[in-house]
Symmetry: C2
Subunit: 343 residues, 2 copies
């Protein structure tokens, strides 16, 4: 069973995923991408994944068969387990509990060769809709305290599968980063009388030097203290702590602006490896001062000893430069979804 | 000038290193290693580095010429600047200050093709001695609040230079990770009446399932909440917060046991990329409850979206397995240093 273990001094949790256990020779540093035909995320290989938990099939059809536009299913090699209860135990070495939770995959489109920035606006919207729906379903489990939604794209961003997809992992603890961020948001509000994230948006009028795009519902910008070259945040204009609070109109806007932003990054940086990370409030309390958002992190450099020791990232690109480059980048817009018969 | 910027909400510092600024096409994801003859860390290229700040020449000789066994100099592309004062300014976006500090390199031996685990015990001891000496010198600058000592080995660990070396970066702030760790150590002491790190050592008698080696002065083990596969810590038996407090006998022991431990990792994992990070107390206060140590992190997997979002690492190798593998590994001992005429 995968375990959550907490360092007795720092309080940092880790997941020791026994099911994924590897001996020295099992690691593949170069990464490998499955060939097109072997991809279990492609049409015709639905029986090679665990049974689907969501699929949009505009023309109908049986579950776990081709014909879907977006499809979600449990991860075949989960980092957490759906079985049992967390059962936190204190040991002399630190706390330990079963890593109870769900680990799901959402495949963004049937086409193996398409990137997220190459999706149609409509397809991107469907993907966001699927994310919201699975997030809502997973959050109903009372043992779950936090859900991390993320996208890994490219080997250097930790992805072993090329076919464009998202993942959700739910956990029975509130992770340290989330605690720090929500506590910081509360402190900021107390000190300044306004949400720190709302402040970031209002400080970024059109023409601001770190702004990339301003939409009716979302603002895209390079954050002041960017950790990564070309790090990009997407913030909803409306103050809301919880991703589940997203409205229908916002959902459509988010699909469009996220696709466009990833398109800019793909064009400017030649399809770099990247991660997208959703930041949303923990599930178990009303974190009114928090403000959900997305963080996009191209992985052009490697966190090395200095970063691992201090937590301070060295960023060789000033966010003002990053914003200028991405503002001018072609967002690679396509008008219509690709609807191929197979993959 | 490189800047330190602090996120207004999370309080996280970053260094925006303008001098290292890169446009999109400047990033090299595959990494590249300089050819042997072009290596500026090799004999004969001393004039291609900034002037040395330390060098041991057993047979004498002029500064910045061959004949040294260990050599230190400022980094040619520093992440911080030795000029000016920090001058912290509050802005609406967050705090900002000049990243004042030193960024130095220590080359472990003249031989380009030797790994740290292949050094002689005596050579490893000389390296530790050089680290302690430069740490002490840099700590005399009253603007410096923390010094990070680290080794990056291999492209996937963030190193662009193959020739074996260490780096030191001093900064005018106490980084967040360090604050959390020292606060955690204090809390642990308050709660349990004993240092958390001393507790880790006493809990690891010979035969403990996470112990790799127990020496007279140091204990080597896989930590309970290992974040990385084959993560390995080296703790001094004697409680001491500050690396500068290391004694002469400990220094000799550390050279030997660190070389041996890296040798085990090199043999077991076939010369993997790795980082070594020194954890020592901040310079500006007496952190009596802290306990300095070294953390060695092989970089066999990539921190992806889940880790970036939560700070929770997913480790596919249980530390009990890691310790068993490394305990049995050949530490690759060599009796005498390699002393070649050139590089």
């Amino acid at each position: 069973m995968p375990e959550l273990r907490k360092d007795a001094v720092t309080g940092t949790w880790v997941i020791v995923a026994a099911e994924r256990s590897k001996r020295p020779h099992d690691f593949n540093l170069q990464g490998h991408h499955l060939k097109h035909n072997d991809c279990i995320f492609c049409y015709g290989n639905e029986n090679k994944t665990p049974p689907e938990v969501l699929a949009w099939r505009p023309l109908g059809g049986e579950p776990n068969t081709p014909g879907w536009t977006v499809r979600a299913f449990p991860n075949k090699f989960p980092a957490v387990t759906v079985q049992g209860a967390p059962d936190c135990r204190e040991t002399p070495d630190g706390n330990i509990m079963t890593a109870v939770g769900a680990h799901e995959v959402i495949v963004d489109c049937p086409d193996h060769s398409v990137s997220f920035g190459q999706l149609s606006d409509r397809q991107a919207e469907l993907v966001i809709q699927a994310l919201v729906e699975r997030f809502r379903v997973l959050s109903r489990n009372p043992m779950v305290r936090y859900i991390q939604v993320f996208k890994n794209c490219g080997t250097a961003a930790g992805s072993s599968i090329e076919h464009v997809h998202w993942q959700l992992i739910s956990v029975p603890v509130v992770p340290e980063n989330v605690l720090r961020e929500t506590a910081g948001a509360e402190k900021y509000r107390e000190k300044h009388g306004v949400c720190g994230y709302c402040r970031m948006i209002s400080g970024q009028g059109t023409g601001g030097e770190r702004v990339i795009e301003t939409g009716a519902d979302f603002v895209v910008f390079s954050p002041f203290a960017s950790r990564f070259p070309y790090e990009t945040w997407i913030l909803p204009r409306r103050h809301e702590a919880d991703f589940r609070g997203i409205g229908d109109k916002e959902l459509t806007s988010l699909g469009r602006i996220l696709r466009k932003t990833v398109g800019r990054i793909e064009q400017a940086l030649d399809y770099p490896p990247y991660n997208i990370v959703l930041h949303s409030a923990p599930l178990d309390k009303g974190y009114r001062d928090y403000h959900w958002h997305l963080e996009i992190m191209p992985r052009l450099s490697v966190a090395a000893g200095f970063e691992l020791g201090t937590g301070v990232f060295i960023n060789p690109v000033a966010p003002e430069i990053s914003a200028a480059v991405l503002r001018e980048a072609d967002p690679g817009m396509r008008q219509e979804p690709v609807r191929k018969g197979g993959n």
